[in-house]
C-alpha cells in the first residue's frame, strides 16, 4: 500500500518536507478542479501554493486547512461563500471525521483499486459536489442580484452596492467630429505627413491615416429622491457613479421638490464619499415630489449647458407627482425634443401586478422613448449592457 505512493519533497522556508506525493497531490488537484468547475477562477499556481501550504501546515486541524485554502483560492469577498461551501462538501464526502489525516487511508484504498497512484481518476462523486456547490453559492448571489433593493437587509445592501460598484457599463457611442491620425484609416493624413516630410526633404516616408473616432455619448441621470423613492435612490446614485467611472460625460441631477445638480459631488472617486457629499448638499431627501416643475427647471437651466442634443437622458422616478400633470407632460415633450433618447426608469414597475396608473406616469409615458423597470442589481446590469445601443 505504501509502496504505491511516491514520496514528494516540498520546499518550504523551514526546510524540505517529505509528502506522501500521489494521494496528496491527487486530492489537491481534485479539490482545485472542483473549485474551478464551481465557478472560481483557479489557476495552477494557486493549486501549487495550496499544496505547499498543506505540506507546511499538515492535516491536523481542518480549520487551518480551510483557512489556508481560503487565503489562497479566494480573491474577493463574494467568492468566500462559494469556497467555503465547496470545502465543506468536498471534505465531508471524503469521510465524516474532522481530521483530514484520518481520511487518508480510505482514499488510499480507493486509489489502489484505480491503479495509477498519481493520476487523479475522474470521480463520479465530484460532479455531484460541483453541482451542489454551484447551487449553494450561486443561488445566494443570484437571489441577491435579482432582489428588489427595497427588500435588502443592511448587510445585503452593502453587497449589492459592491456589485454595482463593479459594474462596467457599455457606453452609448457617437461619431466624433474630428478624425484622429492613426496608422490605418480611411483617408491619408496629408497635412501631418507633409509637415513631417520637411524633415526628410519633402519625401513622405511615414504614411499616416485619418480615422473617424467614436466618443461616448453624454449621459444625463435625473433621479427622484423623494420619500417614495428612498429605498432606491441610494442604489441609483451608485449606478450613476459606476457610469461616471466608466468615462462617460455624465451629468447627474436629483430632485424632490426642486432640481439640484450634483455632477461635481459625484466626481470624487469613491462612491461613498460622493454619496456623502450629495446628501450634505441636497436638503430635500424624502420630501414631496414635483416632477413637472423639476423637469421644467432641467429644461430651462440645464438643457443647453449640460444635457446637449446628443445625450441619453435617464429619468428615475416612480411618477408619484404632487404637482400639475399637464405641466409634466409639456416639459417631458420639450425634454425629449432636446435629447437623443429619453428613458424613464421606474423601480416600482418591477413589482408583480404593476400598472402605470400614477398620474405622473400617465402624463409622462407618451413622451419617453423607453420605459424600464429597474429595482435590482440584475436589472441595472442589464440596462448598463444595453446602453450602447441607445
Amino acid at each position: 500500500m505504501v509502496g504505491e505512493s511516491s514520496s514528494l519533497q516540498v520546499e518550504t522556508p523551514f526546510g524540505t518536507v517529505p509528502v506522501d506525493g500521489g494521494i496528496f497531490l491527487a486530492n489537491t488537484l481534485r479539490f482545485a478542479r472542483i473549485l474551478r468547475h464551481s465557478g472560481l477562477d483557479v489557476d495552477s499556481a494557486q493549486t501549487a501554493t495550496f499544496a505547499r501550504a498543506l505540506a507546511l501546515l499538515g492535516f491536523d486541524r481542518r480549520g487551518d486547512v480551510r483557512a489556508a485554502g481560503r487565503a489562497i483560492f479566494v480573491r474577493r469577498r463574494e467568492d468566500q461563500r462559494l469556497y467555503l461551501a465547496a470545502f465543506d462538501l468536498f471534505w465531508r464526502r471524503r469521510g465524516a471525521s474532522s481530521a483530514l489525516g484520518g481520511q487518508l487511508p480510505r482514499i488510499r484504498q480507493d486509489e489502489r483499486r484505480a491503479g495509477a497512484p498519481d493520476t487523479p481518476r475522474p470521480e463520479e462523486g465530484d460532479q455531484e459536489v460541483v453541482v451542489a456547490v454551484r447551487a449553494e453559492a450561486s443561488s445566494a448571489m443570484e437571489v441577491l442580484r435579482a432582489a428588489d433593493f427595497a427588500t435588502l437587509t443592511p448587510e445585503e445592501s452593502r453587497d449589492a452596492q459592491a456589485m454595482l460598484d463593479a459594474l462596467r457599463p457599455r457606453l452609448p457611442m457617437r461619431r466624433a467630429r474630428r478624425s484622429r491620425v492613426e496608422r490605418s484609416g480611411h483617408r491619408p493624413a496629408t497635412r501631418r505627413m507633409l509637415r513631417h516630410a520637411l524633415g526628410t526633404g519633402g519625401e513622405a516616408l511615414d504614411w499616416r491615416w485619418l480615422r473617424r473616432s467614436l466618443r461616448p455619448r453624454p449621459i444625463v441621470l435625473v433621479c427622484d429622491i423623494s420619500g417614495s423613492m428612498e429605498r432606491y435612490s441610494r442604489f441609483m446614485l451608485r449606478f450613476a457613479h459606476a457610469l461616471q467611472r466608466s468615462g462617460a460625460p455624465l451629468e447627474v441631477f436629483v430632485f424632490g421638490t426642486r432640481l439640484t445638480r450634483i455632477t461635481r459631488e459625484l466626481r470624487v472617486r469613491s462612491a461613498d464619499a460622493a454619496l456623502r457629499q450629495v446628501s450634505e448638499r441636497v436638503v430635500d431627501w424624502s420630501g414631496g415630489t414635483r416632477i413637472g416643475e423639476s423637469v421644467r427647471q432641467l429644461n430651462r437651466r440645464w438643457v443647453r449647458r449640460a444635457v446637449r442634443s446628443g445625450a441619453v437622458v435617464l429619468l428615475v422616478s416612480d411618477g408619484w407627482e404632487r404637482g400639475d400633470p399637464e405641466l409634466l407632460a409639456r416639459e417631458m415633450a420639450t425634454l425629449r425634443r432636446s435629447c437623443h433618447r429619453l428613458i424613464w426608469i421606474d423601480p416600482l414597475a418591477a413589482r408583480p401586478g404593476f400598472e402605470p396608473v400614477t398620474v405622473g406616469l400617465r402624463a409622462a409615458l407618451p413622451h419617453v422613448d423607453e420605459f424600464v423597470a429597474a429595482a435590482s442589481v440584475a436589472s441595472l446590469e442589464e440596462l448598463a449592457g444595453r446602453l450602447r445601443g441607445m
Partner: protein, 297 residues
C-alpha cells in the same frame, strides 16, 4: 525575533502585542510569511487592516515601511526621485570650477542624488530582518500604478535607468490593504494571498477591548460590545469599526461611565458614527431601541 514556528505561535505573538487575530487571519499571515507571498487584506474601514502590518513588524522586530496610496501616486513619490535642486547646485559648482565639461552625466546621476521613497527603501534595506512593507489603501492608487506594483512584487527589483537595477537582498514582507472603493486588479491579486477581515464577533471584540483598554471594567466592556454588535445590524451609511469601538470605550471611560445610559450614549454618538444621517437616526430613538435590545441579552 525569528518567524513564529506555527499558527499558534503567531497568534500568541500577535496577542502579546495587543492584536487579537482570529485563527483564519493568523493562518493567512502565517502562510504569507512561510511562503513569502504578499498578503492582501480587505475589509471595511476600521477593522484593523493597517494594524496587522504594524503588529507584524513589531513581532518580527523588523522595520515598518509604509506607502500610503492616493489617486495620482506615481513612481516619483513611491519609488525614487532625483534631487533636482542638488543636481543643479552641483552643476553650478562644477561650472564655477571649470570642470563642467569633464564631468560626465553619471556624476550627477549617482546614488548620492537619489531620493529614496518607501518602495526603494524597502528594497534596499540591509537590516538583519527583512522590513515589513505596508502598501496602504492600494485601491486609491491608479491602475497604472497597480501595474507597476505587480512588476515590483514579482521581482522585488526596480530599475533606475541612470544607475541600473536595484534588487532586494531579502524581499520585504508585503502587506497590502484595500477598502474596496474599487476592485483591485486580478493580476495583482494573483500574486497575493487574500484575506477579508470581517467585523469581529462579540467574543473577539470583547477580547480586543480588554487587551487594548484594560482600564475598562468588564461589565461596561460587555455592554459596549453588545451595543456595537447590534448597531452594526442597523441600517447605517457606515457601520462603526473596531477603531470606533475603542475610541468610544475610551470616551466613555473618560466621562467616568460605569454602565451605558441613554444620555451618555447619545452624547457620545459622534465618536461612533461619522455621518450626520446616521447620528440623527440614532438620536431620534434608534439608540434607545438598540440599548434596550442589547440589555435583554
Amino acid at each position: 525575533m525569528a518567524h513564529p514556528a506555527d499558527i499558534d505561535a503567531l497568534q500568541s505573538a500577535f496577542a502579546a502585542q495587543g492584536y487579537v487575530a482570529d485563527r483564519d487571519l493568523a493562518t493567512a499571515i502565517f502562510l504569507s510569511l512561510a511562503l513569502g507571498r504578499p498578503l492582501l487584506l480587505e475589509g471595511e474601514a476600521g477593522v484593523g487592516k493597517t494594524e496587522v502590518a504594524r503588529t507584524l513588524s513589531s513581532v518580527l522586530g523588523a522595520q515598518l515601511i509604509r506607502l500610503q496610496c492616493y489617486e495620482g501616486l506615481d513612481i516619483n513619490t513611491a519609488v525614487y526621485e532625483w534631487d533636482y535642486p542638488r543636481q543643479m547646485l552641483e552643476i553650478r559648482l562644477l561650472e564655477a570650477r571649470g570642470e563642467a565639461r569633464t564631468a560626465a552625466t553619471r556624476d550627477i546621476f549617482s546614488e548620492e542624488f537619489l531620493i529614496r521613497r518607501p518602495l526603494l527603501q524597502a528594497l534596499e534595506s540591509r537590516a538583519a530582518e527583512a522590513p515589513v512593507l505596508l502598501i496602504d489603501e492600494v485601491d486609491r492608487a491608479d491602475e497604472e500604478f497597480e501595474a507597476f506594483l505587480l512588476e515590483l512584487l514579482s521581482d522585488f527589483a526596480v530599475s533606475v535607468p541612470e544607475i541600473g537595477t536595484i534588487r532586494a537582498e531579502r524581499p520585504p514582507r508585503v502587506i497590502l490593504t484595500s477598502n474596496r472603493t474599487r476592485e483591485v486588479h486580478d493580476a495583482l491579486k494573483r500574486r497575493c494571498l487574500y484575506h477579508w477581515i470581517d467585523y469581529p464577533n462579540a467574543a473577539r471584540e470583547l477580547a480586543i477591548l480588554h487587551s487594548r483598554l484594560p482600564a475598562v471594567p468588564d461589565a461596561l466592556a460587555r455592554e459596549i460590545v453588545g451595543f456595537i454588535q447590534r448597531l452594526r445590524g442597523a441600517d447605517l451609511t457606515k457601520s462603526p469599526g473596531v477603531a470606533e469601538t475603542l475610541d468610544w470605550a475610551a470616551a466613555l471611560l473618560a466621562l467616568g461611565a460605569n454602565h451605558l445610559d441613554e444620555r451618555q450614549v447619545e452624547q457620545t454618538l459622534g465618536v461612533l458614527l461619522k455621518y450626520q444621517e446616521d447620528v440623527s437616526a440614532m438620536r431620534s430613538g434608534g439608540a434607545r431601541t438598540i440599548l434596550a435590545e442589547s440589555r435583554v441579552v
